[in-house]
Protein backbone atom coordinates (compact mmCIF):
# COMPACT_ATOMS: atom_id res chain seq x y z
CA UNK A 1 0.00 0.00 0.00
CA UNK A 2 2.94 2.30 0.76
CA UNK A 3 4.06 2.57 -2.87
CA UNK A 4 0.45 3.45 -3.77
CA UNK A 5 0.45 6.46 -1.42
CA UNK A 6 3.77 7.56 -2.88
CA UNK A 7 2.39 7.38 -6.43
CA UNK A 8 -0.59 9.40 -5.17
CA UNK A 9 1.67 12.10 -3.72
CA UNK A 10 3.84 12.49 -6.85
CA UNK A 11 0.98 12.25 -9.37
CA UNK A 12 -1.05 14.69 -7.25
CA UNK A 13 1.86 17.09 -7.26
CA UNK A 14 2.11 16.80 -11.07
CA UNK A 15 -1.57 17.64 -11.40
CA UNK A 16 -1.28 20.67 -9.09
CA UNK A 17 1.68 21.80 -11.24
CA UNK A 18 -0.44 21.55 -14.39
CA UNK A 19 -3.04 23.75 -12.70
CA UNK A 20 -0.33 26.25 -11.71
CA UNK A 21 1.12 26.17 -15.26
CA UNK A 22 -2.30 26.92 -16.77
CA UNK A 23 -2.71 29.93 -14.46
CA UNK A 24 0.70 31.44 -15.29
CA UNK A 25 0.61 34.28 -17.85
CA UNK A 26 3.61 32.78 -19.72
CA UNK A 27 4.33 29.21 -20.84
CA UNK A 28 6.40 27.24 -18.35
CA UNK A 29 6.68 23.41 -18.35
CA UNK A 30 4.45 21.86 -15.68
CA UNK A 31 7.03 19.11 -15.05
CA UNK A 32 9.62 21.72 -14.06
CA UNK A 33 7.09 23.40 -11.74
CA UNK A 34 6.51 19.96 -10.17
CA UNK A 35 10.27 19.57 -9.69
CA UNK A 36 10.56 22.98 -8.02
CA UNK A 37 7.48 22.36 -5.83
CA UNK A 38 8.82 18.99 -4.71
CA UNK A 39 12.22 20.50 -3.90
CA UNK A 40 10.51 23.26 -1.92
CA UNK A 41 8.38 20.74 0.02
CA UNK A 42 11.48 18.69 0.85
CA UNK A 43 13.58 21.71 1.86
CA UNK A 44 10.85 23.12 4.12
CA UNK A 45 10.35 19.69 5.66
CA UNK A 46 6.63 19.65 4.79
CA UNK A 47 7.33 16.43 2.92
CA UNK A 48 9.83 13.91 4.26
CA UNK A 49 12.06 11.94 1.94
CA UNK A 50 10.66 8.66 3.30
CA UNK A 51 7.20 9.71 2.07
CA UNK A 52 8.30 9.35 -1.53
CA UNK A 53 11.67 7.57 -1.49
CA UNK A 54 10.76 4.24 -3.17
CA UNK A 55 8.62 5.87 -5.85
CA UNK A 56 11.27 8.52 -6.61
CA UNK A 57 14.00 5.87 -6.79
CA UNK A 58 11.85 3.84 -9.19
CA UNK A 59 11.26 6.89 -11.41
CA UNK A 60 14.91 7.98 -11.42
CA UNK A 61 16.32 4.50 -12.01
CA UNK A 62 13.99 3.79 -14.94
CA UNK A 63 14.03 7.23 -16.54
CA UNK A 64 15.17 5.98 -19.96
CA UNK A 65 12.21 3.67 -20.66
CA UNK A 66 9.71 6.53 -20.25
CA UNK A 67 11.14 8.08 -23.45
CA UNK A 68 10.72 4.92 -25.52
CA UNK A 69 7.20 5.49 -26.93
CA UNK A 70 8.07 9.07 -28.01
CA UNK A 71 11.29 7.86 -29.61
CA UNK A 72 9.38 5.14 -31.51
CA UNK A 73 7.09 7.96 -32.70
CA UNK A 74 9.85 9.04 -35.08
CA UNK A 75 8.61 6.31 -37.45
CA UNK A 76 5.78 8.69 -38.29
CA UNK A 77 8.29 11.33 -39.42
CA UNK A 78 10.68 9.32 -41.62
CA UNK A 79 10.47 11.83 -44.48
CA UNK A 80 11.58 14.77 -42.30
CA UNK A 81 14.21 12.61 -40.62
CA UNK A 82 15.71 11.55 -43.96
CA UNK A 83 15.83 15.14 -45.09
CA UNK A 84 17.55 16.35 -41.92
CA UNK A 85 19.61 13.34 -40.83
CA UNK A 86 23.05 14.69 -41.70
CA UNK A 87 22.55 18.20 -40.27
CA UNK A 88 20.93 16.60 -37.21
CA UNK A 89 23.97 14.39 -36.51
CA UNK A 90 26.40 17.25 -37.16
CA UNK A 91 24.49 19.69 -34.95
CA UNK A 92 24.31 17.16 -32.11
CA UNK A 93 28.01 16.28 -32.35
CA UNK A 94 29.38 19.83 -32.59
CA UNK A 95 27.14 21.34 -29.91
CA UNK A 96 27.78 18.44 -27.50
CA UNK A 97 31.55 18.98 -27.73
CA UNK A 98 31.20 22.77 -27.43
CA UNK A 99 28.84 22.50 -24.44
CA UNK A 100 31.16 20.06 -22.69
CA UNK A 101 34.22 22.27 -23.26
CA UNK A 102 32.45 25.51 -22.25
CA UNK A 103 31.09 23.97 -19.03
CA UNK A 104 34.34 22.25 -18.04
CA UNK A 105 36.48 25.33 -18.71
CA UNK A 106 34.13 27.79 -17.00
CA UNK A 107 33.86 25.58 -13.91
CA UNK A 108 37.63 25.21 -13.84
CA UNK A 109 38.10 28.98 -14.10
CA UNK A 110 35.53 29.59 -11.34
CA UNK A 111 37.18 27.08 -9.00
CA UNK A 112 40.55 28.63 -9.79
CA UNK A 113 39.31 32.14 -8.93
CA UNK A 114 37.69 30.92 -5.69
CA UNK A 115 40.93 29.18 -4.73
CA UNK A 116 42.98 32.33 -5.37
CA UNK A 117 40.63 34.53 -3.41
CA UNK A 118 40.82 32.14 -0.48
CA UNK A 119 44.62 32.36 -0.46
CA UNK A 120 44.63 36.15 -0.68
CA UNK A 121 41.84 36.65 1.82
Amino acid sequence: MKIFYQIGIIFGLCWVSEVVASLLPFSFPASVIAMLLLLLLLLTGLLKLEHIREKADFLLANMAIFFLPSLVGIMEYTDILQQYLLPLLLICAVSTVLTFAATALSVRATLHLLERRKHHG
Binding site: L38, L68, L98, T103
Partner: protein, 227 residues
Protein backbone atom coordinates in the same frame (compact mmCIF):
# COMPACT_ATOMS: atom_id res chain seq x y z
CA UNK B 1 -6.36 -10.19 -34.60
CA UNK B 2 -5.51 -6.61 -35.65
CA UNK B 3 -7.68 -5.23 -32.83
CA UNK B 4 -5.63 -7.06 -30.26
CA UNK B 5 -2.60 -4.87 -30.98
CA UNK B 6 -4.70 -1.82 -30.09
CA UNK B 7 -5.00 -3.08 -26.51
CA UNK B 8 -2.95 -0.89 -24.12
CA UNK B 9 -1.43 -4.06 -22.66
CA UNK B 10 0.30 -4.77 -25.97
CA UNK B 11 2.19 -1.44 -26.10
CA UNK B 12 3.20 -1.58 -22.45
CA UNK B 13 4.39 -5.19 -22.62
CA UNK B 14 6.25 -4.70 -25.90
CA UNK B 15 8.02 -1.57 -24.56
CA UNK B 16 9.11 -3.26 -21.35
CA UNK B 17 10.24 -6.42 -23.15
CA UNK B 18 12.22 -4.42 -25.75
CA UNK B 19 13.84 -2.33 -23.03
CA UNK B 20 14.73 -5.44 -21.01
CA UNK B 21 16.46 -6.91 -24.08
CA UNK B 22 18.28 -3.59 -24.55
CA UNK B 23 19.54 -3.62 -20.95
CA UNK B 24 20.70 -7.26 -21.35
CA UNK B 25 22.65 -6.43 -24.52
CA UNK B 26 24.22 -3.37 -22.88
CA UNK B 27 25.33 -5.46 -19.90
CA UNK B 28 26.84 -8.12 -22.17
CA UNK B 29 28.68 -5.80 -24.54
CA UNK B 30 29.38 -2.84 -22.17
CA UNK B 31 29.47 -0.59 -25.23
CA UNK B 32 28.03 2.92 -25.00
CA UNK B 33 26.66 2.55 -28.56
CA UNK B 34 24.52 -0.36 -27.31
CA UNK B 35 22.36 2.09 -25.39
CA UNK B 36 19.28 0.23 -24.03
CA UNK B 37 16.92 2.97 -25.21
CA UNK B 38 18.40 2.93 -28.72
CA UNK B 39 18.22 -0.87 -29.01
CA UNK B 40 14.69 -0.95 -27.59
CA UNK B 41 13.42 1.72 -30.01
CA UNK B 42 14.91 -0.10 -33.03
CA UNK B 43 13.34 -3.38 -31.83
CA UNK B 44 9.91 -1.85 -31.34
CA UNK B 45 10.01 -0.04 -34.71
CA UNK B 46 11.05 -3.28 -36.48
CA UNK B 47 8.22 -5.25 -34.85
CA UNK B 48 5.64 -2.59 -35.70
CA UNK B 49 6.84 -2.46 -39.32
CA UNK B 50 7.06 -6.25 -39.80
CA UNK B 51 3.59 -6.91 -38.38
CA UNK B 52 2.16 -3.73 -39.95
CA UNK B 53 0.95 -2.43 -36.60
CA UNK B 54 0.11 1.31 -36.72
CA UNK B 55 2.02 3.54 -34.30
CA UNK B 56 -1.31 4.80 -32.93
CA UNK B 57 -2.21 1.24 -31.83
CA UNK B 58 1.13 0.71 -30.12
CA UNK B 59 0.91 4.14 -28.52
CA UNK B 60 -2.30 3.26 -26.63
CA UNK B 61 0.02 1.40 -24.29
CA UNK B 62 2.92 3.73 -25.04
CA UNK B 63 0.96 6.68 -23.65
CA UNK B 64 0.77 4.95 -20.29
CA UNK B 65 4.57 4.77 -20.18
CA UNK B 66 4.99 8.37 -21.42
CA UNK B 67 2.65 9.42 -18.59
CA UNK B 68 5.49 8.72 -16.15
CA UNK B 69 7.78 11.32 -17.75
CA UNK B 70 6.46 14.28 -15.75
CA UNK B 71 6.62 12.42 -12.42
CA UNK B 72 10.17 11.34 -13.34
CA UNK B 73 11.13 14.96 -13.97
CA UNK B 74 9.59 15.92 -10.63
CA UNK B 75 11.63 13.15 -9.00
CA UNK B 76 14.80 14.96 -10.13
CA UNK B 77 14.06 17.19 -7.12
CA UNK B 78 14.89 14.19 -4.91
CA UNK B 79 18.29 13.77 -6.55
CA UNK B 80 18.98 17.51 -6.12
CA UNK B 81 17.79 17.31 -2.49
CA UNK B 82 20.11 14.34 -1.85
CA UNK B 83 23.03 16.43 -3.09
CA UNK B 84 22.00 19.65 -1.34
CA UNK B 85 25.24 19.73 0.70
CA UNK B 86 27.34 19.33 -2.43
CA UNK B 87 25.25 22.07 -4.07
CA UNK B 88 25.66 24.46 -1.12
CA UNK B 89 29.42 23.89 -1.13
CA UNK B 90 29.78 24.33 -4.91
CA UNK B 91 26.85 26.64 -5.71
CA UNK B 92 28.94 29.16 -7.64
CA UNK B 93 30.75 26.69 -9.98
CA UNK B 94 27.42 24.85 -10.51
CA UNK B 95 25.59 28.07 -11.39
CA UNK B 96 28.38 29.44 -13.63
CA UNK B 97 29.00 26.10 -15.39
CA UNK B 98 25.33 25.29 -16.02
CA UNK B 99 24.52 28.84 -17.20
CA UNK B 100 27.44 28.98 -19.64
CA UNK B 101 26.87 25.36 -20.72
CA UNK B 102 23.17 25.93 -21.45
CA UNK B 103 23.91 29.19 -23.29
CA UNK B 104 26.59 27.59 -25.46
CA UNK B 105 24.37 24.60 -26.17
CA UNK B 106 21.37 26.66 -27.30
CA UNK B 107 23.53 29.25 -29.05
CA UNK B 108 25.51 26.71 -31.07
CA UNK B 109 22.36 24.79 -32.06
CA UNK B 110 20.60 27.98 -33.14
CA UNK B 111 23.60 29.09 -35.19
CA UNK B 112 23.99 25.72 -36.94
CA UNK B 113 20.25 25.45 -37.65
CA UNK B 114 20.49 28.81 -39.43
CA UNK B 115 23.60 27.67 -41.35
CA UNK B 116 21.90 24.46 -42.52
CA UNK B 117 18.70 26.34 -43.31
CA UNK B 118 16.45 24.26 -41.02
CA UNK B 119 12.88 25.50 -40.70
CA UNK B 120 11.36 26.94 -37.53
CA UNK B 121 9.73 23.68 -36.39
CA UNK B 122 13.01 21.74 -36.73
CA UNK B 123 14.97 24.51 -34.99
CA UNK B 124 12.48 24.61 -32.11
CA UNK B 125 12.74 20.81 -31.81
CA UNK B 126 16.54 20.81 -31.62
CA UNK B 127 17.17 23.86 -29.46
CA UNK B 128 16.67 22.27 -26.01
CA UNK B 129 18.42 19.01 -26.99
CA UNK B 130 21.10 19.08 -24.25
CA UNK B 131 18.63 18.86 -21.36
CA UNK B 132 16.74 15.85 -20.09
CA UNK B 133 13.95 14.65 -22.41
CA UNK B 134 10.85 15.62 -20.44
CA UNK B 135 12.05 19.22 -20.03
CA UNK B 136 13.34 19.35 -23.62
CA UNK B 137 10.00 18.15 -25.00
CA UNK B 138 8.03 20.74 -22.99
CA UNK B 139 10.34 23.53 -24.20
CA UNK B 140 10.16 22.32 -27.83
CA UNK B 141 6.36 22.00 -27.77
CA UNK B 142 5.95 25.49 -26.33
CA UNK B 143 7.83 26.87 -29.36
CA UNK B 144 6.14 24.74 -32.05
CA UNK B 145 8.68 21.91 -32.26
CA UNK B 146 7.98 18.24 -33.08
CA UNK B 147 8.29 16.15 -29.86
CA UNK B 148 9.53 12.97 -31.64
CA UNK B 149 12.24 14.98 -33.32
CA UNK B 150 13.34 16.43 -29.98
CA UNK B 151 13.49 12.98 -28.40
CA UNK B 152 15.70 11.73 -31.25
CA UNK B 153 18.07 14.70 -30.88
CA UNK B 154 18.16 14.33 -27.08
CA UNK B 155 18.95 10.60 -27.38
CA UNK B 156 21.67 11.10 -30.02
CA UNK B 157 23.21 13.82 -27.83
CA UNK B 158 23.11 11.63 -24.72
CA UNK B 159 24.62 8.60 -26.40
CA UNK B 160 27.25 10.69 -28.19
CA UNK B 161 28.11 12.48 -24.95
CA UNK B 162 28.56 9.28 -22.98
CA UNK B 163 30.89 7.93 -25.69
CA UNK B 164 33.07 11.01 -26.14
CA UNK B 165 33.14 12.47 -22.61
CA UNK B 166 35.96 10.21 -21.28
CA UNK B 167 37.96 11.24 -24.36
CA UNK B 168 37.14 14.95 -23.85
CA UNK B 169 38.19 14.73 -20.19
CA UNK B 170 41.65 13.60 -21.33
CA UNK B 171 41.84 16.02 -24.25
CA UNK B 172 40.95 19.09 -22.17
CA UNK B 173 42.85 17.76 -19.12
CA UNK B 174 39.84 18.15 -16.84
CA UNK B 175 41.34 16.83 -13.62
CA UNK B 176 38.77 18.30 -11.25
CA UNK B 177 35.86 15.86 -10.70
CA UNK B 178 33.40 18.74 -10.11
CA UNK B 179 34.25 20.27 -13.51
CA UNK B 180 34.14 16.90 -15.28
CA UNK B 181 30.79 15.93 -13.72
CA UNK B 182 29.10 19.25 -14.49
CA UNK B 183 30.40 19.18 -18.07
CA UNK B 184 29.02 15.68 -18.64
CA UNK B 185 25.62 16.53 -17.13
CA UNK B 186 25.33 19.85 -18.99
CA UNK B 187 26.25 18.37 -22.37
CA UNK B 188 24.58 14.96 -22.24
CA UNK B 189 21.96 14.88 -19.42
CA UNK B 190 20.81 11.55 -17.93
CA UNK B 191 22.48 9.22 -20.45
CA UNK B 192 25.81 10.96 -19.81
CA UNK B 193 25.20 10.80 -16.06
CA UNK B 194 25.20 7.00 -16.09
CA UNK B 195 28.68 7.24 -17.68
CA UNK B 196 29.73 9.87 -15.12
CA UNK B 197 28.69 7.48 -12.32
CA UNK B 198 31.05 4.89 -13.80
CA UNK B 199 33.93 7.41 -13.77
CA UNK B 200 33.45 8.40 -10.13
CA UNK B 201 31.02 9.23 -7.33
CA UNK B 202 31.61 13.01 -7.36
CA UNK B 203 31.44 13.08 -11.16
CA UNK B 204 28.11 11.21 -11.04
CA UNK B 205 26.65 13.44 -8.34
CA UNK B 206 27.66 16.68 -10.10
CA UNK B 207 26.38 15.36 -13.42
CA UNK B 208 23.03 14.50 -11.84
CA UNK B 209 22.86 17.96 -10.31
CA UNK B 210 23.61 19.56 -13.70
CA UNK B 211 20.56 17.81 -15.27
CA UNK B 212 18.11 19.63 -13.01
CA UNK B 213 19.93 22.97 -12.95
CA UNK B 214 20.57 23.09 -16.73
CA UNK B 215 16.96 22.06 -17.36
CA UNK B 216 15.76 24.99 -15.29
CA UNK B 217 18.18 27.47 -16.90
CA UNK B 218 17.24 26.27 -20.41
CA UNK B 219 13.54 26.80 -19.63
CA UNK B 220 14.29 30.32 -18.40
CA UNK B 221 16.43 31.19 -21.44
CA UNK B 222 13.91 29.80 -23.91
CA UNK B 223 11.23 32.08 -22.41
CA UNK B 224 13.19 35.15 -23.48
CA UNK B 225 14.17 33.71 -26.81
CA UNK B 226 12.06 34.28 -29.89
CA UNK B 227 13.18 32.39 -32.95
Amino acid sequence: MADLFASPFFGVALSILAFWIGVKIQKKTRLAVCNPLLIASILVICILLVFRIPYADYNRGGELITLFLSPATAALAVSIYNKIRLLRKNWLPVLVGCTIGSLVSMGSVLLMCRIFGLDEAATASLLPKSVTTSIAVSVAEAHGGIPSFTVVAVCITGILGSIISPFLIRLLRVKNPVAAGLAIGASSHAVGTSKALEIGETEGAMSGLAIGVCGLITVLFSMFLSY
